[in-house]
């Protein structure tokens, strides 16, 4: 079906006709701000302490001590911060959402793997409790998995949205 685009002055109408309510420009803006707040907060707690963050990543047992781990510890907080700033300012919204989609998918996998290790060791799933190194302190694993799943869905919605409003256009429009 060919998409129709409404042209009303109200931004709420500026979405593909028949598109899901979640693609309402105000809803997308709220989702952008929500995701940005989470990742800016997380980044600020990691920037400036790469050694500590490297140790936190190392506890997942995925990357051993060495250049890949240290590069990750240096760069990852800045990726989160820049993605958050992009979502707030409206510059590179879809690209930042795409990065956060990938990051959240990765976080889900490693947290699930670590949780599985605890469960395998005899801890009941609902009682698995650890500091994921995400910048929010220790929490229950089920809660963290649920949160990350929500962020994953929000990032996916931002990537898939047919149209974003309140953004900085990267190309000058022809008259």
């Amino acid at each position: 079906m060919k998409m129709m685009w409404s042209q009303g002055a109200n931004p709420a109408e500026l979405r593909p006709k028949g598109a899901h309510w979640i693609y309402n420009p105000y809803v997308l803006l709220a989702l952008r701000f929500m995701l940005a707040a989470v990742f800016i907060y997380a980044a600020v707690h990691k920037i400036g302490r790469p050694l500590a963050f490297a140790d936190e990543i190392h506890t997942y047992g995925v990357v051993d001590y060495g250049p890949p781990l240290y590069i990750m510890a240096i760069v990852l907080p800045w990726i989160e911060l820049l993605c958050g700033i992009s979502l707030v300012t409206g510059l590179c919204v879809r690209g930042s959402a795409l990065i956060l989609l990938g990051l959240n998918a990765m976080f889900l996998v490693v947290i699930a793997k670590k949780t599985a290790g605890f469960v395998h060791g005899g801890t009941p799933f609902m009682k698995v409790y650890f500091d994921c190194g995400c910048g929010f302190g220790a929490t229950y694993a089920w809660k963290k998995l649920l949160e990350d799943a929500v962020y994953l869905i929000v990032a996916a919605v931002l990537v898939a949205a047919p149209l974003h409003r309140f953004i900085v256009p990267l190309r000058r429009r022809l008259p």
Partner: protein, 165 residues
């Protein structure tokens, strides 16, 4: 398809910016780390004379008490707030995660051929061992790690000092 391609290009631009800013900040930060840093292979043991020959020896509470009494250098690898609340007598604060701040204050007081005891909060914390490895890579080869940490020390009602360094 065009939208996806544009998203990928934007993502590449954001990632490139993060790499540049991240590495620049790391180079200027006092707590910056070398990305090419390789792990130090240090002999770690809990038996007799390991530390005297060079390496890291894991010690018990009793051995830690004797070491403190015999006058070895004592390093507290915890954060400043924890240190100020209470620490092992004569311990010098060297927060493992804020080496840039404390390294220049503490290292001049140590000599490479003396015994150095390192501890952190409790048996589950790894900071004492990680700091000991860091010190080893800096040339301090005779290291004792008190794994029980301050929790075990204070639980045994041994002497504690309070306040800033």
């Amino acid at each position: 398809m065009k939208t996806l391609l544009s998203a990928v290009l934007q993502a590449v631009a954001v990632l490139a910016a993060a790499f540049v800013i991240g590495f620049a900040f790391n180079a200027l930060s006092r707590n910056g780390i070398s990305p090419t840093k390789t792990p130090v292979n240090v002999p770690v043991a809990s038996d007799s004379t390991q530390a005297k020959e060079g390496g890291i020896k894991i010690i018990t509470l009793e051995e830690a008490r004797q070491a403190v009494e015999s006058g070895v250098a004592v390093i507290d690898a915890r954060r400043k707030a924890d240190y100020d609340e209470g620490h092992i007598p004569r311990a010098m604060l060297l927060d493992y995660y804020d080496m840039g701040t404390y390294k220049d204050r503490v290292l001049p007081h140590l000599s490479t051929d003396q015994l150095i005891m390192v501890y952190c909060s409790e048996v589950t914390c790894e900071d004492s061992e990680l700091l000991a490895k860091e010190l080893y890579s800096l040339g301090f080869k005779k290291l004792l790690v008190f794994k029980g940490g301050f929790a075990e020390w204070s639980a045994a009602h041994l002497a504690v000092e309070k306040g800033a360094q």
